[in-house]
């Protein structure tokens, strides 16, 4: 099932794909992907490992060719043989790689000489933007993972792109770097630019994205605004004393919503997960108060992680050995 927002006019899409198919030998990576990214938003493109996220990124920047289907970038039909529109696009595809023997600045100069023409002043500007102005003359080979990631983001920003394609942009960034990146991307959308983020770091996407598309098995299974997504099938969590658990369960049962108790992190307390619209959190609170119970904490809303897990075929294995959850998916 794919739920889409009300379609805006064609020209207002920064990126659109229709029936996009890509196979690696006999293995399908994308099986008719239909995607619509409105302009001026942060679009979170989510999916488990092997869902087709990286394949889509590679197709969008012309690293690989589609078997069939259409791509439209910034309102123009896109063909891997005619990639001029990419001069208006910035991309960080997979992990950023640089010439280790060149400085960070010279690596950016090397990229600035290809594709759209970029001035050396812009090179210094983006270096400063990602906090590498002081280290710009150091060899890239001496950069940490996080610094290379910053340099990769700087490279994507070089041509002041209208559309930014970022593959796991938070990889390796420290908390300060993540906050700075978030602010930068927000600033870009305020200028009317579009940011397309492919990621599986769900809390990060939840903090950043306006629109979310979830892909699994090479198909889009859900697309919509983050607000709509989070308000559907949400839940309210209340924390009560263990001694009052039975009374609380009975009071919540009267609301007609399934409730599930689980131990809380604080001894003597329990959480109760109530499957109810977040907007009805006050009803939950009132029902408990009427029964003479005062919750020590109430949390409402849903999180992207639970929605993602319910929609995709990813199976979390919390009680299994650590390696069990890392198997290859077909």
């Amino acid at each position: 099932m794919t739920t889409a927002m009300t379609p805006p006019p064609t020209g207002s899409f920064a990126l659109r794909t229709q029936g996009l198919v890509k196979r690696y030998g006999s293995r399908p990576a994308l099986q008719g992907l239909d995607l619509a990214v409105p302009r001026g938003v942060v679009y979170g493109f989510l999916g488990p490992n092997g869902a087709g996220k990286t394949t889509l990124m590679r197709l969008l920047v012309g690293l690989i060719r589609p078997d069939s289907g259409r791509i439209e970038i910034l309102g123009q039909p896109y063909d891997w043989r005619k990639r001029g529109v990419l001069h208006r696009v910035g991309a960080l595809v997979e992990s950023p790689v640089f010439y280790d023997y060149l400085s960070g600045r010279d690596n950016l100069r090397a990229l600035a000489a290809s594709g759209a023409t970029v001035s050396s002043a812009r090179v210094d500007e983006v270096l400063a933007l990602v906090g590498l102005a002081e280290r710009g003359r150091d060899k890239a080979g001496r950069y940490s993972l996080g610094m290379k990631q910053r340099l990769g983001i700087a490279a994507a920003l070089l041509s002041d792109p209208e559309l930014l394609l970022l593959d796991e942009p938070a990889n390796g960034l420290d908390p300060g770097g993540i906050v700075a990146m978030r602010e930068t991307l927000r600033h870009l959308t305020r200028q009317g630019k579009t940011v397309f983020i492919s990621s599986h770091i769900l809390p990060e996407v939840q903090q950043l994205a306006d629109v979310v598309g979830i892909v699994d098995g090479g198909r889009l299974i859900r697309e919509g605004s983050l607000g709509d997504l989070l308000s559907e099938g949400g839940q309210v969590k209340v924390r009560v004393a263990e001694a009052e658990l039975q009374t609380a369960m009975a009071a919540l049962g009267a609301l007609g919503a399934p409730a599930l108790p689980r131990p809380a992190e604080i001894p003597g307390l329990s959480w109760i997960d109530v499957s109810i619209q977040p907007a009805r959190a006050t009803d939950v609170n009132r029902a408990l108060a009427t029964a003479g119970i005062y919750a020590s904490a109430i949390e409402s809303g849903s999180d992207l992680e639970s929605i993602f897990l319910s929609l995709t075929t990813t199976t979390p294995a919390p009680s299994a050995p650590p390696t069990a959850g890392w198997g290859e998916r077909g």
Binding site: A91, P96, V97, L102, A113, S114
Partner: protein, 271 residues
């Protein structure tokens, strides 16, 4: 022009460029110092005469470019493969393509930069080699008066251009193979294998006449060499007339670049 400038910067800053240059320059100087030192100590009068002939100018100049073509050609195969192959192996080609840069333009400009670096390399190693040859001639007591003969000096520019063409053609072959395999190791390995395979083919009598048209025989034949020098590292195999070899060399160069361009255009970049 910006892309060519930055491609040159990448080559100049890359350690492989200096390693290749140092190996070739060191080898040439070693050859001449060994020849200079051995003169006067050889038991056979024939060998003694041959060494003196090699160190006498203008033959010594031809020997310098012969060594550049022979060893330099071999190193150029590996160098051409290493430069473009690394872009694939390291994944740096991804970012370039993702910026909307034409794959064919990037390929051709990268090779143009390699050709420019090779031209500088040929010139500098020739100067170093000529210096070593003069020194060796003096050590051997042959004298180096012929080194500054105006008629000889007038032929040097053409000799150097031909040498550069032969070396650039060898680099183009390594370059094209690395592009086809999308790997520097595969490019270096296959390029060198092809180079040595050609040398071993001279042992097959039926192929000896045709061997003159093979790419590395052609690149070694772009300069005229006297019999005692052999031909660009290929010994006494039949070789093409130098002018004919220049045309064949140009043909191989263009063919190699065409193959590299087509491979770049068609390649799916999944590294």
């Amino acid at each position: 022009m910006a892309l060519l400038r930055i491609s040159l910067l990448k080559l100049v800053r890359r350690p492989a460029t200096w390693v290749v240059f140092a190996i070739l320059a060191g080898l040439i100087m070693l050859v001449f110092f060994a020849l200079g030192a051995s003169a006067g100590q050889l038991e056979s009068a024939g060998e003694e005469l041959q060494v003196r002939l090699l160190l006498a100018f203008p033959t010594a100049y031809t020997m310098v470019v012969g060594v550049i073509l022979g060893f330099g050609g071999l190193l150029a195969v590996a160098y051409g493969a290493a430069i473009i192959g690394a872009d694939w192996g390291w994944g740096t080609i991804r970012a370039v393509v993702a910026r909307g840069e034409s794959r064919v333009r990037y390929t051709l400009v990268t090779f143009a930069a390699i050709a420019i670096v090779l031209a500088i390399g040929v010139l500098v190693t020739f100067i170093l080699g000529a210096g070593a040859a003069i020194l060796a001639a003096e050590i051997a007591g042959v004298g180096s008066e012929g080194a500054t003969d105006p008629d000889t000096l007038r032929t040097l520019p053409e000799l150097l251009v031909r040498t550069w063409l032969g070396v650039a053609q060898a680099a183009a072959i390594g370059f094209a193979i690395a592009m086809l395999f999308k790997s520097q190791l595969a490019g270096i390995g296959a390029g060198l294998a092809l180079y040595f395979a050609e040398m071993f083919l001279m042992l097959v009598p039926i192929l000896r006449d045709g061997l003159a048209y093979f790419p590395f025989s052609v690149s070694g034949a772009v300069i005229a060499t006297s019999d005692e020098l052999g031909s660009g590292g290929f010994g006494s195999v039949p070789t093409l007339d130098p002018d004919q070899a220049v045309l064949w060399s140009l043909g191989y160069l263009v063919l190699a670049l065409a193959i590299a361009s087509i491979a770049a255009r068609r390649a799916q970049i999944t590294q």
